[in-house]
């Protein structure tokens, strides 16, 4: 052993006076990796407050707290995350249907106060709010299924040949698979005019408990067989899953429940009906509004008589919607159950003609009328009264009554609503060539998207931004329709652009029939003068208060004449509200009437 060996270990002591490398060249900041799961960020504008993140969080770290104003399809709640619970597993980011939630790559948060570790990402001012790095849901990695279970449908070649129902309905396996996509956020409940408990009945489908499903559906909607087919499904437009892909087919799931239950079993499943309490309510019109009011009034114990001008009940459900969308036996299924509860329906009784309204007014404790919009608007162009011009509603009505409409071999339908689509597609079924003229753009069409799509699929030609100018008698065909191109002119903030005729443009279509379907107005001629004076109207609508009571305390109204949405489900909701309104009114504000 040499002396060097002994000294060598002590030589490292000279290092003791050196500054450590890590102090000399410290790495002060180490940003997280590009996809590091750091602190949360949330795009407040994209977030819809569905609460799916709260639901999936295994640590109960997320609370939904009110932040912004509640809007259509946005609950106004936003997730508040407790960093005393979070474990940064990113399940909330992975499931977020709107994709608003993400994670930045920041990871340092030190504080001496334990109460500060709860925060609302995106709302509270944090240094990482604008971070573009960090974890986001990876493309192609989905916890939610964005695609709808395809509905078995007749092909367009098949469907346009007959009035057989086009949508064939889900099988059990398909329905359960579709129900599994639901995140049960409940935003649809607020959007549905009738506020049906959608997540609850979808849950029932998942559980396979159709009877429970039927009970839930009937709580807010006594016409589910019809609604399950033709509802305008406002719910599907706000569905949280729609932010990810396709919305749940809520309407068809409802239909699935109804399809599983035989109509004679309804009485066993649904609630007991109370004895009649001795008060009578008259309902005018047996459309969705009238039937809904009748059902709920009966449920509240009132005796109800429905007066209807047509041969069969159902109103627009029967006479305004063609059979390939809503088969008549489905309308019957709903109505038979309501009739079975003891609701009397007087058919072929036109109030004001067969029976004066004043009679009803005297005999009943209250009157609900929901007579709908029955008078089609005219086109207000020259030649409108020529032979070959028929209203869309009139034509659909004829078809329901079994008459073959005289439409010839070529038809032009004017309008972009559901009635226009129905008229067009019905004409296709009578083997006519169909052209649809609409004055705005396709995106502006008030008809349901799938209606427009199916109409085109069945061979109807759609011409948008077209304004009809005048009609003349044709030589080869019955009519010659001149129309001009329209251009879209902005019409102020918040309004949709207005179509304005391009000067000098004029085109011609030769056709046998022109079907205007540009909306309808209400017909109040049945209301006698003395009652009319007390009822208020605004722009053709009956003005009602929150109980759906008109200016006359005994008269209630609902349906298309009292709301601006003008669809079946709104009418059903009105009927329900009016029934409760009548109940409140009769129980609290009104003396027992003496009946003579």
């Amino acid at each position: 052993m040499s002396i060097k060996d002994i000294i060598a270990p002590f030589s490292v002591w000279k290092r003791a006076f050196e500054k450590p490398y890590t102090s000399k060249r410290p790495i002060d900041e180490r940003p997280g990796a590009a996809r590091y799961r750091g602190f949360h960020i949330n795009d407040m504008a994209t977030c819809i407050g569905c609460g799916t993140c709260e639901e999936i969080c295994q640590n109960a770290a997320i609370d939904m707290v009110p932040v912004s104003k509640t809007k259509h399809g946005d609950s106004g709640l936003r997730p508040m995350i407790d960093y005393g619970r979070c474990c940064w597993c990113a399940l909330c980011v992975d499931i977020c249907p709107s994709g608003s939630l993400g994670m930045s790559n920041e990871y340092i948060w030190v504080d001496s106060d334990p109460e500060v570790f709860r925060f609302i990402p995106g709302q509270d001012n944090k240094s990482w709010n604008d971070s573009s790095l960090g974890y986001r849901r990876a493309e192609g990695y989905d916890l939610l299924e964005g695609e709808r279970v395809a509905m078995p449908m007749l092909s367009f070649e098949e469907s346009q040949k007959s009035f057989i129902e086009m949508v064939q309905g889900y099988s059990e396996e398909q329905a359960k698979r579709e129900a599994d996509r639901c995140v049960a956020c409940g935003i649809c409940i607020a959007t549905c005019p009738a506020h049906m408990k959608v997540p609850d009945y979808i849950e029932a489908i998942r559980e396979g408990d159709m009877e429970e499903g039927l009970r839930i559906v009937y709580q807010a909607n006594p016409l589910p067989a019809s609604c399950g087919r033709v509802c305008s499904h406002a719910c599907e437009y706000v569905c949280a899953v729609k932010h990810k892909g396709e919305a749940l087919s809520i309407r068809w799931l409802k239909r699935y429940i109804i399809d599983q239950i035989y109509k004679n079993d309804y009485q066993k499943i649904l609630d007991e009906i109370p004895e009649e309490n001795g008060r009578h309510i008259a309902v005018i019109g047996s459309g969705p509004g009238g039937l809904s009011a009748a059902y709920y009034l009966r449920l509240l114990g009132y005796a109800v008589t429905v007066y209807d001008a047509n041969e069969k009940a159902g109103g627009m459900l029967r006479y305004g919607i063609p059979e390939y969308r809503l088969p008549y036996e489905q309308v019957d299924k709903d109505i038979i159950y309501i009739e079975g509860l003891g609701v009397t329906i007087e058919q072929d009784t036109r109030i004001g003609v067969d029976l004066p309204l004043t009679d009803l007014y005297k005999k009943h404790d209250a009157i609900f009328f929901s007579t709908g919009l029955t008078d089609p608007y005219g086109l207000n162009i020259a030649g409108e009264d020529l032979k070959g011009v028929m209203s869309g509603l009139g034509m659909l009505d004829d078809v329901t009554q079994g008459k073959t409409p005289e439409i010839g071999s070529s038809v032009v339908v004017i309008g972009g609503g559901n009635v226009a689509m129905d008229a067009a597609r019905t004409s296709r079924r009578y083997e006519a060539d169909v052209t649809i003229l609409y004055r705005r753009r396709e995106a502006d069409m008030p008809a349901d998207e799938e209606e427009v799509e199916e109409a085109q699929g069945e061979g109807c030609q759609l011409i948008t931004q077209a304004i009809p100018l005048r009609l003349e008698k044709g030589d080869k065909t019955r009519l010659r329709l001149y129309w001009g191109r329209a251009e879209m002119v902005p019409d102020g903030e918040g309004r949709r652009p207005k179509p304005v005729l391009v000067e000098g443009s004029e085109e011609l279509i030769e056709c046998d029939t022109v079907i205007p379907a540009i909306g309808q107005a209400a017909d109040y001629s049945f209301i006698p003068e003395e009652l009319l004076s007390s009822i208020e109207f605004t722009r053709g609508y009956v003005k009602v208060n929150e109980f759906y009571q008109t200016g006359d305390k005994k008269i209630f109204a609902g349906g298309d004449i009292a709301n601006s949405k003008r669809d079946a489900i709104s009418a059903i909701a009105n009927g329900h509200s009016a029934a409760k309104g009548i109940d409140i009114y009769l129980k609290n504000f009104k003396e027992e009437v003496s009946r003579d």
């Binding site: 707290v65 009110p66 509640t70 709640l77 407790d82 109460e115 409940g186 506020h195 929150e546």
Partner: protein, 182 residues
């Protein structure tokens, strides 16, 4: 092994359960009656070559009303695993101890007493504290013990948290006066 077990199946009243591990041929599941468990395990250890107790645990099948005990034993010469399953009535969770066969079973038994309340008469240190010190509630691994409730009652969760249900909140904000709410 299978044949060997089948030969003694009447003697120890055991049943082979094939559907539990169909994809493995070195693992077998056997159901045994309570009074035959220890004779069968003794036979396994002394005569059949299963000299090693891999683990010994319990599962609470509360819906069916029993604890399922699993004795997993291993044969080093054939590298065969054997799981012996025993159904034990939840109302009367007492079973014979096996610490005389495998001394380390006493620790498993101590843990099972603490977590499930299963008694193994004669097992050493059985009633001593194991993981929980001074526990005075239901044994926590029993499924009728509500751990979340217990935690909330005992460990002071931090306040300042309040969540709103989306559907309820929207109802409050958008349509407090409509039919559904009356």
């Amino acid at each position: 092994m299978r044949t060997q077990l089948q030969q003694v199946s009447t003697r120890f009243s055991i049943t082979l359960i094939d559907e539990l591990a169909p994809e493995r041929d070195d693992l077998l599941f056997v159901q045994v009656e309570k009074d035959q468990a220890v004779p069968f395990l003794t036979w396994l250890q002394e005569l059949a070559g299963y000299t090693h107790l891999v683990f010994f645990t319990a599962v609470d099948f509360i819906e069916e009303g029993y604890f399922q005990l699993t004795y997993m034993v291993h044969d080093y010469s054939t590298h065969q695993d054997l799981a012996v399953l025993l159904k034990l009535d939840r109302e009367d969770p007492v079973v014979e101890s096996i610490h005389h066969l495998w001394p380390h079973a006493a620790t498993y038994q101590q843990e099972m007493y603490e977590m499930y309340g299963i008694e193994f008469p004669g097992s050493p240190r059985l009633h001593d504290d194991f993981v929980l010190e001074g526990w005075d509630d239901l044994p926590p691994m029993r499924r009728d013990f509500d751990t979340r409730q217990y935690s909330e009652d005992t460990y002071f969760p931090r306040g300042g948290r309040k969540s709103r249900d989306t559907a309820e909140y929207m109802k409050e904000q958008l349509y407090p006066g409509e039919a559904e709410t009356w």
